[in-house]
Every structure is written in structure tokens, then in C-alpha cells.
Amino acid sequence: MFRFIHSSDLHLGKRFGGFSGDLPGRLREARHGVLGRLADHAREQEASAVILAGDTFDTETPASDVRRQALTEMGQHPSIRWVLLPGNHDSLQAAELWSCVAAEAPPNVTLAQEAEPVALARDVFVLPAPCTTRRPGRDTTAWMDAAPTPEGALRIGLAHGAVQTFAEEGSTEEVIAPDRARRAGLDYLALGDWHGAVQIDERTFYSGTPEPDRFKHDRPGEALLVSLNGARALPQITPLATGAFQWRTLDLQVLSHDDPVDILRSLITEPNQRRQTLVRVLASGHCRLARHAALVAHAEDLSPDFAWFELDMDGLALEHEVDDLDDIERSGALRVAADSLLREADDTSLSSAERAVAGAALARLYRRAREMTS
């Protein structure tokens, strides 16, 4: 049996400029820390190798400290064989990067820079398909079909890129053939590029990133423990948790009778995990002024608990009832102002932006009035 850990898309050195405060630093440090966590898993699972399927570095010219510290960390685990494949972010076009890595890499680091079999262990070969450029424009795994390996040896494909194109007239020749494992007689095809773990077929897997870096995939960071029990045996795949931070997109769907605050409470993680969680709440549906104000207030109250908290209420429409306006003022100038804003919010002759502004202004008036009352 041969065991290894399949991971990809570490994007070391990514800086997270969209955030502020100390969060970018924490996120950056977490990416570096994933190397140690992968090594720990490898030792625990008796895996002899960690295969990184591209995009180990976020750019083609990472800072020297990022590069050196990563290699040093790998060198700290000499019993583990690290295999680094150039991805689209750190393609072979980054000659400077790979020449430096080659010069600085500790002995247990193997650079998969050539499309030729690399012996990983006795009768275990990795067939790498490095990205020669940022967009190679071809199926880099095509060569694997005819790649010679000894009879009975394990063939592990290693590639980085998409298996389908999303372009309307995209050529399938530019993506990795989804059935490459079958065509090339691979025992396992380790893919990178997709940041969420995905199984393409029984031998083909995207590991996803071990440390999420965006809200898109809404999966915890994980790597795949791959166990090969011999040539042509189906691989056994075991996900391993590796992420230090969780990136969660919470879909807050509110109906008229719902209390958005209750819904949000049900979605929120336990308090002890909040510091390591980035949350984006996407509110949608309809709610009345009082609940709208309550949701905003609750979000403001929750926000400091999390590494990042964002409430997007663009999709949440306001519903207005007379008694909502009575909460502002039953009569007088305040009521006149509230009535005028309500009329505007419901006036279909105005643009949606104008109506949204009027509705938000009414919500703001409601909140201020309620604050004064309380």
C-alpha cells in the first residue's frame, strides 16, 4: 500500500488586501501554517508524501521570505517527501521562482517541472503535468497516455487546471480531459486549481485548498489522504481537516413572518469558533422596519465576535405597515417625513435606486426614532 496526501492551491504569500486590521496578517500566517498541519497529518496517517497539485505560491515572483520559509518548513519534516507542481499562479514561466526553489529546496522536496515520470517510491511513479505558462491553452495531461512506467507500478497523475470550460465557445482541448485517469491508466489523478474539494470520477479528485481564501466554495479547508492498495485498485480517499479559518457565506432568507434575527442566530457558529471565522450574511426576502432594524442592530452586535462579519442586505426588501410608521410618530412633522419616504419607497415611477434610498432612509428614521424612544 502506498499512502500520500493530496493537496493544492496553498497560495502562499497571498496578502488579503481586501481586509483591514490584523486579519490579513492572520490569514497570511494561516496559509503558511497549513504546511505544518499537512506534515502532521502525514505523520499521523503514515503517509510518505505530500503532493501539491499546483499554485503552492500565489504569484510567480513571491517574496523571498515566503519562498524560503515555506521550503524551510518542508525541510523540517525530512521523513516526508514533498512534491511541488507548478500551477497557473506559479507556472514554469516563473523561471526565477523555480530556479531559486531548485537551489534552496531541501532534499525531501521534489520539483515536478518536467512532463516525465518521477519515481516517488519503488514502483510508484508520479506523472506530472506542470503548467508551462499561466494559460497553457492545451491539455497538459495528454502526454500521460503514452508515459512509460514499469509493469505493475503505481501511476499517479499530477496536474493543475480545469476539467471543463465555462466559456460559451470554449475548446475542450484547452482543459484536462475528465477521463484522463482511464485513458492513461492512472491509479489516481491528483488535480489542483479548484479551491473546493471535488470528485470527478473514482480516480480523479480535486483536493481543494487546505486553507480557504474566499467565500466562494463555502467548504472548510481540507486535504485528501489517498491510499493505493496496488495497481488498478480503486483508491481510498479520506478527507483531512486542515483549515485554520472558516469562510462562511450564510444565506439569510427572510419571509414576512420570519424574524431574521432568529434565523441568523441559528446559522451562526459556536462562539468559540467565531474568532477564526469570516462570515458573509446574504440577507434576502422581505421584512418589516422593526425586524430590519433589529437585524442591523444584531449584526452590529455580533460583528466584533468574528474575524470578519459582513451583512449584505441588498437583497432584503422592506415591507411597511402603518403601525411601523406609528412607531416613529403617530402624527406631526416626523410622521409627515416618514409618510413621504414610504411613498417614495413604493413609487414605481422612481428608479429602483431611488426607491432603495428612500426605503433605507425610512429604515434609518425608524431606527433613530426607536433609539430615542428606548
Binding site: 497571498k14 488586501g17 510567480e60 514561466q93 523561471a95 402624527s331 406631526g332 434610498v357 433605507a360
Partner: protein, 873 residues
């Protein structure tokens, strides 16, 4: 709140002293005192107590301090619905504030708590409603003041209205509306200015600034990244190129190409040298053939020319012989004519002498007849002679001897002539052989032909074979010597005349001729008197007296003598003419001889030249044949050489092409070496550039900035949305409040109307929506701008409006004292009394305190009179 007493110590003019005003009552209170008594000081001390923090050292506190310095103490007793209190503040050293409960004599609060207590009493301090009611001297509300002060008062009016309108709060929103509007405005003001521009230093402006900075930074980093990528691409390209250029195969191929090109060039060079040798041989053969051809043609032409010249020579010699004959005949004729001329001259001389003797005899006879007349004429003639002598002396000085010019001209002619005939005058020998003579004379070894004129120069030898050798010698001087003598004679003659040339001599002669004209006149007179001269006349006179008697007796035929003489003269003329003709003929014969001799000599010279070319006569034809043979041989050699050249030229490699090929492959090799060097240098530079940029992590930096920019742009958009919301909310609130503002002002108008009626009949005031100040005064249907009213009216309206506000406060349960410091200074006596009535009308439930220096005018105000007394804390 009502004031009960005011005390102050060491305030302004009360340096190190104190004063107190006790006994403030309800209604109107008045403190009348002259200028410099301390009224305004009291007002300012009271104002500072209520509106200036005890810890303040700002201008409003410093105004209290006397020139001598020290601490300022102000104290007042007040009555409020909650109790009576003593408020004390000390400014500057050991500054403090405290509130004493007069009922318990306990300190109620101190320091900041005391300040808060006092602020609450006046409802917000100077910016509060109470501050509005304190009117300083000359302040009407319309005068231009600092904006902060105007805004403060405006807020006070607004707050006052909002706070006192309890009965209309349900309509206007009251305090809640004000607070929401204020909070909204404050939120908006944090983001944007009144004109909607992002507020400097605010979050919105900071977000925009951050976004702009990030945009600029991103743009810079994009450029950096682009440069980095280009550098990476360029380096990759360089390295590929280096690998190509430096590959052993490429290097070997370049070396082999150079070697092959060098060998080809050497081969071509050798072929080229051989060709040049053959071409030189061809040129030599061609030259030799051309030389022989020229010699052959020259020989052939010389033979032809010699044949043609023989006829010419024969004709020339014939013409030469003829000219010698004609020249000899002309010489004989000339000799005969000259002898006849000499004989004719002698005959003329003899005939003349006979004629003269006949004339002398006749004159002797005539003299006897004219003896007396001759003596008179002699006397006149002597006088004329004297005149003639004078003229003659002048003429002598100017005269050029007539023969001198003639001689000069003659010398010129001779010189020309000698030059022309020098050759013609050459001595010659002509032989006429006897018929049947066997021998021939030889002149200088040459046979002399008969009848020919043979010339010679200097010495010559005439040889008569078997007879004698005759040595001939020409004594003719050398022509050049004769000519020189003539030219020397001409120079001497010119020198003797004293002129440089013939023309100058002629000019002198002209002058002399003029004098001679004059002389001629005198001479004519003399000639009339003495036709034959004075001497002659004297002789005649003497002769008259001494006549040869023999003459008188001589009887000769004068006509016959004359006829003889004229015949002799005619003979001499004819002889001279004949001589001239002969001389002309001789001259022509000489010229013809010279021409014939010259032509003959020229032809003989040509014959000599051709003979020299042709060589000996007997070898001439053989030489022509030899040359023709050589020419044929050389022609063959030339053709053979041409064939060799053409053959080699056809197969020789073009040296220029071989050299160009060699240059090309060498340049390829050198260019490759240069390119390698250049690429290595560029590669090194790119390495440094890439390493530097990599160390700076420009890509990571760029991605970070891109994400930060997206976040910043979202934040700016969020602020824009927030501003839009606040704008809309503020607009809605403002519009609602404006709608209700008329309702706000209704109570003020209610309070103001009776006050106005005290001063103006049928007067209505309209307020400005923004300033809440009276804007227009409408009287009897006429609308007037308050700002255009007189100072007195503006002042009165200001006070009445304040009284109306004070009434509103009082009705709202928060009465505040109205304090007027030297107000109504512009009001006339009639109006001031009406204002007093207004004050009293409002003072029913309102404390009004008036400070004035117009003691007499304000006597009619009534109310409680206040006094200032000395006070020490």
C-alpha cells in the same frame, strides 16, 4: 430663574476692589449710572458667570481681568422653582466654581458639576435659549457679527421655539424631530460638507482618498508587474536565444562556414592573380602589335608623301629661276634711268645761271629808277626787322626744326624699310656661261647654274675649275648694326629737340607755327617794303648808289633764257619719274625672289625630314615588307593571348563574391559572439532587475492592493449610499419641518402682536425660515425689509422679538431674565416710552434687568432702581 443679586471682585475697572448690586426684583429692574460706572462690567461679569467656564483662560475670560491682573471673582444669587442658590466662579488663579444652597447654606456642587448646574439654569449656556435674551449694547440681531455667534444665536432661537412649543409638539415633532434631524445632520456632516463635498478629514473623504491612493498605487504596481513580467519573458527569450546561439552544433557550423569561405576566397584570389598575369601578357602583345602597326603605316605614308613632294620641288625650283632673271633685268633698267636723271639735273643748273644774270641786269636798271622809294622802305623795314627778331627769338625757343621731324619720319621709314629689304639687299652672283662652255663655276662647292642669281653672306668662294678660285666678300654691314645705328640716330635727334617722341615734336612745331604766323605778318609787311630783305634793300639802296655800270649795259634775252630753263626742268622731271618706275619694278622683283626662295627652302626641308624617316633609298621598300611580316606575327600572338584570357576568365571564381561570402560568414560568427555578449549582459541586468522586484514582492503587493482597492471602492460606494440615505432623510425631515414651521412661529407671533401694536399700528412681522429672525415688516399693506429700517426700529424689533421669546419660555415653565445693557440707544423719546410700556407689559411674569447710562430718559421706565455698592468677598 430669577436673579437676586450680583457681586464681583477684581473685575475689569474694579481692580482689587469689589462691587455688589443687591435686590433684583420681579418685573423691571433698572440700574442707571453714568458712563464708566461699571454697568457693562456688571453685564459682562454676569455673562461670564453663566456662560464662561471657570477654568477658561480664553478671550471671554481675559476680558474680565484688570490691567493689574489677579483673580476675578463673580457671584450671583438666583431663585429657581427648586430653590435659592448662590453661584460663584473665580477665574485664573485658584479658579473654581461652586453652587451654594442658600436654604441650607450647603455647597451643592463644585467645579464641573457646578458648571453643569449653571448651564442647566440657562438652558444650554450662551448658545441656549437664555443667551438669546441677553442683549448687549447696540446688538440688534441684524448687524454683521462673527458667524459662530450668529449660528449660536440662531440655534438658540430654534431650540427655544422647539422647547417652548409643548402645545404644538405633537404637530411639529418637537424635540424628537430636532434630535433626529440634528443627529442626521451630524451624521451627514461627518461625511460631507453642506455643499455635499466629502468632508476633509472625514471617513468618506478618507475612504475616497484611500481608494484614489490605492488606484494610483495599483496603477504603479501594475506597471511594475508588467515590467517584471516583461523582464521575465525577455529573460526567457534571452536564455532560449543563448541556448541556440551557444549550442556546440551552431558554434561548429559557424566555424566551418568561416573555414570554407576562407578556402574559397583563397582559391578565387589565386585564380584572379593568374588571370591578371594573362591579361598583362595580352596587353603587352596588343601594345607591340600596335607599335609595329603604327611604324608600318608611318613608313608607307612617308613613301607616299615623298612621291607627292617631288613635283612640288620641281615647280618651286622653276619659279625660283624665273625670279632671279626678273630681278637682274630690273637692276639694269634702274641704272640707265639714274644716269638720265643726273644729266637732266646738270642742264637745269646751267639754264638757271643764265636766267639769273639776265634778271640782274634788269634789276639794276629798275633800281636806278626806284632809288628814293628804296631808302624810305629801308627805314621802315629796319623797324619791322626789330619786331621780327623778337618774334624770331621766341620761335627759336619753340621751334622744332622742320627737317628734324622730317628726319625723324625719314628715320622711321628707313628703319621700316631696312627691316623689309634687309634680305632683299643680300649680295649675289649671276653667271652667264658662254655658249659651248664645258666647265661650270662652283660657288662654295656647288655648281652654279647659268642665268641664276646666287646669293651669299659674308665670304664665299667662286671656283672656276682649271682657271681660278675667286674669294668674294660682301662689305654690307650687318643688318642689325645698321638698324641699330638708325635707331640710335633717332634717339639722339629726339634728345636734341628735347622731346620724347615725334608727336611731342609736332606739338612744339604747331606752337612755333603760330608764332611764325605772326612773324609772317611782319615779314609780309617787311616783304612789301623789302621784298628781298633789308640787306637786299640796303644793297638796293647801296646798289642804287653803287650799281655796276656793266649791268646797266648788259642786254640779254630773258624770255629765251627762261624757255631754256623750263625745258631743262621738264627733262629732269621726266628722268626722275622714269627712275621711280624702275625702282618700283626692282623692288617687286626682289620680293618675288624672296618668296620663291622661301618656298623652295620649305619644300627642301620637308624632303629632308621624309628622307630621314625613310632612311636610305635602297632599303625603303624592304623595310616596308619587313614591317608587314612582323605585324602578322604579332597579330597571331595577340589572338593567342586573348584566347587564354577568355578561357581563364570563363572559369575563374568571382573574387568579390568570394570575399562577400567570407565577410558574411565572418560577420555571422562575429555577430553571434557579439549577440552572446550582449545577451549575457542583458541577462545579468534582467537577473538583477527581476531579483530586486521579486524581493520587493511586487506581484503580491499588487494583488494585495487590488483586493484593498476593491474593498476601498466598496467602502466609498457604501459611503455614497449612506450620504444618499442621509440626504434623503434630512431632506424629508427638513421639508416636514418647514411645513410645520409656520406652526412653530405662530406662538411667537401671538406674543409679538400686542408688543408690536404698542409701537406700530396695523403692523405684522414675517420671519425668515432659516434665521428665524423678523425679515419683513408689513404696515398698512406695505412690506418693508427689516434690514432696511432705521437702526432705532431694528433695535426695537429685536428687543420686542426677544421679549416674545422670553414670554414663550416663561409660559413653558422656564422663565429666564431678560437683560438689556444700554439697549434702546437709538430710540427717540416717543418710541422709548412705548418700549418701556412693552417692557412692563412683558414683565408681568418676567424679570427684566436694564442697564443704562441715560439716567434722565430712563427715569420714565419705572420699575425697581438698583444701586451699586462696594463689596469685599
Amino acid at each position: 430663574m430669577k436673579l437676586d443679586a450680583l457681586r464681583m471682585f477684581n473685575v475689569k475697572r474694579f481692580a482689587d476692589s469689589g462691587v455688589s448690586i443687591e435686590g433684583f426684583g420681579d418685573g423691571v429692574n433698572i440700574l442707571c449710572a453714568p458712563n464708566e460706572a461699571g454697568k457693562t462690567t456688571s453685564f459682562e461679569a454676569l455673562n461670564a458667570l453663566f456662560f464662561v467656564k471657570h477654568s477658561s483662560t480664553a478671550a471671554d475670560a481675559r476680558t474680565l481681568r484688570p490691567y493689574s491682573g489677579g483673580n476675578c471673582l463673580v457671584e450671583t444669587d438666583v431663585t429657581t422653582p427648586r430653590g435659592r442658590y448662590r453661584l460663584t466662579k473665580q477665574f485664573f488663579g485658584r479658579s473654581h466654581a461652586k453652587v451654594l444652597d442658600l436654604a441650607t447654606n450647603q455647597i451643592l456642587s463644585q467645579a464641573d458639576e457646578a458648571e453643569a448646574f449653571i448651564s442647566d439654569l440657562v438652558q444650554g449656556g450662551a448658545g441656549g435659549a437664555a443667551g438669546l435674551l441677553w442683549v448687549r449694547q447696540g446688538v440688534t440681531g441684524w448687524d454683521r457679527r462673527p458667524k459662530a455667534e450668529e449660528d449660536s444665536e440662531k440655534n438658540a432661537r430654534t431650540n427655544l421655539l422647539q422647547s417652548v412649543q409643548g402645545e404644538v409638539e405633537t404637530i411639529t415633532g418637537g424635540r424628537r424631530m430636532a434630535e433626529i434631524l440634528s443627529a442626521t445632520a451630524a451624521s451627514r456632516a461627518e461625511l460631507v460638507t453642506a455643499t455635499g463635498r466629502p468632508r476633509a478629514g472625514g471617513k468618506y473623504a478618507a475612504a475616497i482618498d484611500l481608494r484614489d491612493r490605492l488606484q494610483a498605487e495599483l496603477q504603479r504596481l501594475d506597471t511594475e508587474v508588467q515590467a517584471l513580467r516583461e523582464a521575465l519573458d525577455r529573460r526567457a527569450s534571452i536564455q532560449r536565444r543563448l541556448a541556440e546561439v551557444e549550442s556546440p552544433e551552431e558554434r561548429q557550423a559557424r566555424l566551418e562556414a568561416v573555414t570554407a569561405a576562407e578556402a574559397a576566397f583563397e582559391d578565387a584570389r589565386l585564380q584572379h592573380e593568374a588571370l591578371k598575369t594573362l591579361e598583362a601578357e595580352l596587353n603587352l602583345a596588343t601594345e607591340r602589335r600596335s607599335a609595329v602597326l603604327r611604324e608600318h603605316d608611318q613608313h608607307r605614308d612617308a613613301l607616299a608623301r615623298l612621291a607627292a613632294l617631288s613635283a612640288d620641288l620641281q615647280a618651286a625650283r622653276s619659279r625660283h629661276g624665273e625670279s632671279v632673271g626678273r630681278r637682274s633685268a630690273a637692276g639694269d633698267a634702274e641704272k640707265t634711268a639714274r644716269a638720265e636723271a643726273d644729266q637732266a639735273e646738270e642742264a637745269v643748273v646751267a639754264a638757271r645761271a643764265a636766267l639769273d644774270q639776265g634778271d640782274a641786269a634788269q634789276r639794276a636798271r629798275d633800281a636806278v629808277a626806284r632809288s628814293q622809294a628804296h631808302r624810305d622802305s629801308l627805314a621802315q623795314a629796319i623797324g619791322i626787322r626789330s619786331e621780327i627778331e623778337t618774334l624770331s627769338a621766341k620761335i627759336a625757343a619753340a621751334r622744332v626744326p622742320s627737317d628734324a621731324i622730317r628726319d625723324l619720319e625719314a628715320l622711321d621709314v628707313k628703319i621700316v624699310r631696312l627691316t623689309a629689304i634687309r634680305d632683299a639687299a643680300r649680295p649675289s652672283v649671276t653667271v652667264e656661261y658662254e655658249a659651248g662652255a664645258q666647265a661650270r663655276l662652283q660657288l662654295d662647292g656647288q655648281d652654279l647654274a647659268g642665268g641664276e642669281d646666287h646669293g651669299y653672306d659674308g665670304h664665299a668662294t667662286l671656283f672656276a675649275p682649271g682657271i681660278a678660285r675667286v674669294h668674294l666678300r660682301s662689305n654690307r654691314p650687318d643688318d642689325p648694326g645698321q638698324l641699330t645705328a638708325l635707331e640710335d640716330a633717332r634717339r639722339v635727334l629726339l634728345a636734341s629737340i628735347g622731346v620724347g617722341d615725334v608727336d611731342a615734336a609736332r606739338a612744339r612745331q604747331t606752337q612755333a607755327q603760330h608764332l611764325e604766323g605772326l612773324l609772317g605778318v611782319e615779314k609780309a609787311r617787311l616783304a612789301v617794303l623789302a621784298p628781298e630783305g633789308i640787306d637786299r634793300l640796303q644793297e638796293i639802296v647801296a646798289a642804287d648808289e653803287d650799281i655796276d655800270p656793266g649791268l646797266l649795259d648788259l642786254d640779254l634775252d630773258r624770255d629765251a633764257l627762261r624757255a631754256t630753263y623750263e625745258a631743262a626742268v621738264e627733262r629732269r622731271r621726266a628722268a626722275v619719274a622714269s627712275l621711280g618706275e624702275c625702282e618700283t619694278i626692282r623692288s617687286a622683283a626682289d620680293a618675288a625672289y624672296v618668296a620663291a626662295q622661301t618656298a623652295l627652302a620649305g619644300l627642301e626641308a620637308q624632303e629632308g625630314q621624309i628622307a630621314a624617316i625613310l632612311g636610305p633609298v635602297d632599303t625603303r621598300e624592304t623595310r616596308l615588307e619587313t614591317l608587314a611580316g612582323s605585324l602578322a606575327l604579332l597579330q597571331e600572338a595577340q589572338v593567342e593571348a586573348q584566347v587564354k584570357v577568355d578561357a581563364l576568365r570563363g572559369r575563374v571564381t568571382d573574387l568579390a563574391i568570394a570575399e562577400a561570402a567570407l565577410r558574411r560568414v565572418r560577420s555571422v560568427k562575429e555577430a553571434a559572439e557579439r549577440e552572446v555578449g550582449s545577451l549575457r549582459e542583458e541577462n545579468a541586468a534582467l537577473n538583477a532587475q527581476i531579483r530586486t522586484r521579486s524581493d520587493e514582492a511586487v506581484e503580491e503587493d499588487r494583488n494585495e492592493k487590488a483586493e484593498a482597492l476593491a474593498a476601498a471602492a466598496a467602502r466609498v460606494a457604501s459611503f455614497e449610499h449612506e450620504v444618499a440615505i442621509l440626504d434623503r432623510l434630512h431632506g424629508a425631515l427638513d421639508a416636514a419641518r418647514a411645513e410645520a414651521r409656520e406652526l412653530y412661529l405662530t406662538p411667537v407671533m401671538t406674543e409679538l402682536a400686542p408688543l408690536l401694536s404698542l409701537l406700530f399700528e396695523d403692523a405684522v412681522i414675517a420671519f425668515n425660515d432659516q434665521t428665524l429672525l423678523p425679515e419683513t415688516l408689513i404696515r398698512k399693506g406695505l412690506e418693508e425689509e427689516v434690514a432696511c429700517l432705521s437702526g432705532g426700529m431694528r433695535e426695537q424689533l429685536s428687543i420686542l422679538t426677544r421679549l416674545a421669546f422670553a414670554r414663550l419660555m416663561a409660559r413653558g415653565g422656564r422663565p429666564a431674565p431678560v437683560i438689556l445693557d444700554d439697549a434702546l440707544v437709538y430710540s427717540d423719546d416717543d418710541r422709548i416710552e412705548r418700549m418701556f410700556n412693552a417692557l412692563h407689559m412683558q414683565a408681568r411674569d418676567q424679570q427684566i434687568i436694564v442697564f443704562s447710562c441715560r439716567q434722565r430718559a430712563f427715569q420714565k421706565l419705572g420699575g425697581a432702581a438698583l444701586q451699586m455698592t462696594a463689596w469685599t468677598p
